[in-house]
Symmetry: C2
Subunit: 127 residues, 2 copies
DNA sequence: CTAGAACCTCACATCCATGTCAGAGGCAAG
DNA sequence: CTTGCCTCTGACATGGATGTGAGGTTCTAG
């Protein structure tokens, strides 16, 4: 498929897909006229890339991990595995923090709703 | 306390604290010479602001929610409460997504570790 | 053949929280 | 008074993913 289709299938913009390629996250074969072509498998790959971006990883970091995804061999898993574990832990801490923040928001929402009903509930901002 | 102390207590930079004030997230009283002074309570407030930033909220959004935090009154809770619920839900979706990503990373890590041991485990990138 | 999408590259713009620097004033200790 | 550190305002710099536009080529449908 061409880049436009990959974009619409993944939700990524055409611009972003070209950027991913520039960063070494995504490969494409080129037609004789220079247009990029992708296989169906790339859809999954792009979705995963987007996930990692959403998790706060940088292009550089993603680039380090991706080889390890497709082809787990001794060469690449050597350093990348450690990196992956490290990023997993960072993500886990981040999730914990976000859950705390959500809890705090829940507390605030409850307090405000209680206030609306004229109750006297006063707790908030705890984490 | 002055701005430097608030910074070191919260981990935010002095620059950031001034920026928070500029965005209407943080108030300060000024000494006759113009220096900012804060009460102990502001420490908690700054920490909460940092939490919200980490949760992906923008200054504008945080500014909308904060009045609702300190002083839950009918006037501000009117629209802000809805906004808060909306942000809570967005955050919740985000957390769910991150958990999926973490699971995917766990899968990859396991696959790579298995590979190291010569096993033939082949699953990854699922979400 | 032709019109209009879709694609190419290159390059500059944008957003937004922060960093950083310059020039000036404030304040405590020696 | 002086030295040193903290603070002030203002402004420009940064990074990273993405938007956007120009100028040109390619593909597809009529």
């Amino acid at each position: 498929m061409r880049i436009g289709e990959l974009a619409s299938r993944t939700g990524a913009s055409v611009r972003s897909l070209r950027y991913y390629e520039e960063q070494g996250l995504l490969a494409s074969t080129r037609s004789s006229s220079g247009q990029r072509h992708y296989t169906d498998g790339e859809v999954e790959r792009v979705v995963f890339i987007q996930r990692l971006y959403a998790a706060g990883l940088s292009s550089r970091t993603i680039a380090e991990l991706l080889p390890c995804v497709e082809t787990p061999s001794v060469e690449n898993s050597d350093a990348a595995l450690e990196r992956m574990v490290q990023e997993r832990d960072r993500l886990s801490e981040y999730i914990t923090d976000l859950v705390h923040t959500r809890d705090a928001l829940d507390g605030l929402i409850a307090a405000n709703r209680a206030h609306r009903k004229g109750l006297r509930t006063r707790t908030a901002m705890a984490g």
